[in-house]
Symmetry: C2
Subunit: 361 residues, 2 copies
């Protein structure tokens, strides 16, 4: 099969090995005579897959199952915006506004009610940097950050220290792409369809001690406690998407975990950013502050919208490079180069960019 060069921001590229393992499991899981999709979620065989996925996720992050629990929930990260506030917003919460997704999280917290304080924002410059040295409210119920901003192409170069205030992070579009002290977080959530699996499941990692701050005011399906007490099987989980995550975690562990993943991501990301910086009169990087540049979503402009459209159309036509169009809210070009994106795709992109520049400059 001739693979596309897939730069989609999500649903996104997955490792070929994971596709092959999933296709096999869709036909006949482990020679049981049934598909992974046909197995009762309460069967011992599926349960083993589910628990292994939870434990492998913690292993990749270097977290202990004694301290953290893992949930696999439906409804996307957008549902987490609501659940977080429902479960942990008693009186006040601090949010940092770094982009379109952070704004949505803030909106949902305000719907739940309480004092939702935006303690820092980069909206004044179209979110093209990450606010630093933020003063947090010492009495906040939690601080919420969006560590990677898919649309704007920024990420936190380091995770802020919130002292004794619990830290909650939306890590969706960078999840498991780099080494990080994940224990700084009390709650991490990530829609799977960027770095760890297909659309339809969101992974939530909760520090057990955070539940001491549980409000107890959420309805059943939005209540973390109910999902935790039922091992994330209060109702039928998205079984097939979780299976794919299981294979992705094995793929990460087998290549040496996050140090190996990060090394590859740096190679890919620097290659592309270096090229942009060297040709910034034609390819204009959107994020100027280098340390804030996401190694997952790389965004740039050309000198006109017409040229940007032509760039995307020609990329598709000549080399089957897909999804290079920037998010409709910011325009420009975006190359999402998640964990599973091979370096060959980045190299091919740069070769094409050279050709295109020569023809159009």
């Amino acid at each position: 099969m001739q693979r596309a060069h897939n730069f989609s921001a999500g649903p996104a590229i997955l490792p070929i090995q994971v596709l092959e393992e999933t296709a096999q499991a869709v036909l006949n899981y482990n020679n049981l005579g049934m598909s992974i999709m046909e197995m009762s979620h309460r069967s011992k065989e599926y349960d083993a897959v589910f628990i292994e996925t939870q434990l492998d996720g913690l292993k990749v992050m270097g977290l202990s199952p004694d301290e953290y629990d893992v949930l696999f929930l439906g409804g996307g990260a957008s549902t987490q915006f609501l659940m977080i506030a429902y479960n942990f917003l008693k009186s006040k919460a601090d949010y940092i506004n770094t982009g379109i997704w952070a704004k949505k999280a803030i909106k949902e917290a305000k719907w739940v009610g309480g004092d939702v304080k935006v303690v820092a924002s980069s909206e004044d410059t179209k979110f093209n940097y990450i606010p630093k040295n933020v003063q947090f409210s010492p009495d906040a119920d939690y601080v919420h950050i969006t560590t990677n901003n898919t649309v704007e192409g920024t990420w936190y170069p380091s995770i802020p220290d919130t002292g004794s205030v619990p830290l909650i992070g939306d890590l969706s579009s960078e999840f498991l792409s780099r080494e990080m002290d994940y224990s700084k977080f009390d709650l991490i959530y990530a829609g799977a369809q960027k770095n760890i699996g297909p659309a339809g499941v969101t992974m939530v990692v909760i520090k057990k001690s955070l539940m001491e701050r549980w409000t107890g005011k959420a309805p059943t399906m939005l209540d973390y406690k109910i999902h935790l007490e039922n091992g994330s099987m209060y109702n039928t989980p998205p079984c097939l998407p979780v299976y794919v995550i299981n294979r992705v975690f094995k793929w990460i562990l087998n290549q040496g975990g996050l140090p190996a993943v990060e090394a590859t991501n740096k190679k890919k990301g620097y290659l592309l950013y270096d090229y942009l910086d060297a040709n910034s009169d034609f390819y204009i990087p959107q994020v100027k502050t280098k340390e804030d540049r996401s190694l997952m979503n790389v965004c740039w402009n050309l000198t006109s919208e017409e040229l940007e459209s032509k760039f995307c159309a020609e990329a598709k036509k000549r080399y089957n490079m897909t999804n290079l169009k920037g998010h409709r809210s910011v325009g420009g070009i975006r190359a999402s180069i998640y964990n599973a994106c091979p370096i060959e795709s980045v190299e091919a992109l740069i070769t094409y960019m050279g050709e295109f520049m020569k023809e159009n400059k």
Copy 2:
């Protein structure tokens, strides 16, 4: 491949053809060089799949897209319990309590608030029949019924007439298993993992006119209006599960639609019930009222719990017949024989039941 005889109540058996088509699409969708899991949900190729699935669903039901919309949402039918009340419960609603799932729907409506009236219940006899001739409140915001009760093995022989009061139905475990006047409903919802696909997606069919009664009080992700205005793509939908549904709908349409499906289901169901009735001193059917017997979930007891355990264990061991154990809340035996369950599996089950009775009576 030697297929198991899969009697799981859900996730459940799917047509082999659907498994094969899904496995292929997981590797390389339509020769695009990417998996169906890797495609942007906003790409024209995936969008075509999504819209076709919505339209085919309506076609199977005999409903018009001018009158009805289709959503594919995460969070399971359990999340619909909450959404329904959030979106349509202004002052009072009528619920019929026919089983464990109906009870959960009632609980969630009560959480939202308002006058939630249980207008009929069969709880007094362990839900082993469907209440008839129910008097509905003429001023209710809606009536909610659970048309098939997965755990208890009952279904509505006919859909009640609620006059001008909107009718909302949880059809999860019988969805598209029989001919029915689906236009009697103003809202239908169904977790996919019984009759139409894998776990991780719930199909919601909403009559456009019902939205005139929308409360406007739900948070973003629980707001039908937001999902409707965005063609069920407000956020990333469960793309792969929807693709599987697409293939199941084609499978239904290609065999002649619901008349053909119902004919097969009647053959399978009557075969099994007739056998139970003929041997009811050993295999005791749980549902006595014949017209209330579900053709999807067939429940019976043996004369002791020990014998029931032995029945399940031997079935697995001798013939790879799986998931025959009844739901933990009612015990006994349950054979779920959904659309995709081949008649050969029912015949094999009956043969085994004969052997087992001879050995243990």
